[in-house]
């Protein structure tokens, strides 16, 4: 362990290691609920502006032109003294991809939350993580245990790789959220080991 000496010779305290998981999906699919079910803090919101790397990128659409900031929710889970996991809930529309580049850099991977009655809402997120080579799991949010389609149907409709885990979750339930996160980390491990 390396410590940096401060000007008065005392040792400045080092910081915990941050790790992060991105939670993506369509509007109102339950991203903030998912983050909030396991976060040790109330999910916080911040405004993310265009990042320096994305300057000059032409974003289509009047809405994107009139506003260069988007709201992003996040939560935190302390995993021991020296490790903190951040969960980022992010809007799933195509026009926010500039933000994902920033978010996904250094991330463990992503959870794509799916509402089976609005399956197409998650397509942009799935497309993005597949092309970026980001490990992700597809998590069908089954409120009250209800699903309109089987996991097999969802897999077929999304046409994701057979190696991409597909799970049923309940964004309101801490244990279900925890299990989903564990499945993602396990998947990321198998990808890293491959």
């Amino acid at each position: 362990m390396v410590f940096k000496r401060s000007e008065r010779g005392r040792v400045d305290r080092p910081v915990p290691i941050p790790v992060k998981i991105v939670v993506a999906g369509g509007y109102a699919v339950g991203k903030t609920t998912f983050v909030g079910s396991i976060s040790e803090i109330e999910p916080l919101t911040t405004e993310a502006a265009l990042t320096s790397r994305s300057e000059g990128v032409d974003i289509a659409g009047d809405a994107a032109k009139s506003s260069t900031t988007v709201a992003m929710d996040f939560g935190r889970i302390t995993l021991g003294d020296d490790l903190i996991l951040y969960l980022f809930g992010t809007p799933g529309q195509d026009r926010f991809h500039f933000m994902w580049d920033d978010l996904i850099r250094g991330a463990i991977g992503a959870v794509v939350l799916v509402d089976t009655s609005r399956l197409e809402d998650c397509f942009p997120a799935v497309d993005y993580f597949e092309s970026a080579g980001t490990p992700f799991v597809v998590a069908v949010n089954a409120f009250f245990g209800r699903m309109q389609h089987s996991l097999g149907d969802v897999r077929e409709a999304l046409a994701v790789s057979p190696s991409t885990p597909m799970v049923v979750t309940d964004a309101r339930d801490r244990e279900a959220t925890k299990t989903t996160l564990l499945q993602l980390v396990q998947h990321a491990l198998s990808v890293a080991a491959a």
Binding site: V15, P18, M72, G106
Partner: protein
């Protein structure tokens, strides 16, 4: 996306705090954790209200994005301010495991195993 929120009204003004700059000398990830240094504890108070507020939040380890949310200032502004404060030695990004805060690479197997174990035991 919803209609522009109240923060939009502040969009121009906060960047006055950074002298109009939108990038910092150091490239900090939004999850980068910082903490007040000895020097920051001694001299941070002299640097204006925003830097003073940042110093107070950083008495305990805190991430860039959390500073942004708690102070109600856009992430881009906080990145520049915190980046400058790290350069000036007021804040420290040095991690417990000695890895760099700016690597941006995906966690390796060892770190993933620690996350897995950590999540299993919460």
């Amino acid at each position: 996306m919803t209609e522009p929120t109240g923060i939009d009204r502040l969009r121009v003004r906060p960047y006055a705090l950074t002298g109009g700059r939108v990038r910092s000398t150091t490239e900090l990830a939004l999850e980068t954790i910082v903490i007040l240094t000895d020097r920051g504890a001694t001299h941070g108070e002299e640097r204006g209200p925003e830097r003073r507020n940042i110093c107070r939040l950083c008495e305990e380890p805190i991430s860039i994005i959390e500073i942004s949310a708690r102070l109600g200032l856009p992430l881009g502004v906080i990145r520049v301010l915190v980046g400058d404060m790290v350069t000036d030695g007021l804040l420290n990004t040095h991690r417990l495991d000695g890895t760099s805060a700016e690597s941006g690479s995906r966690p390796d197997q060892r770190l993933l195993e620690r996350v897995l174990h950590g999540l299993q035991t919460i």
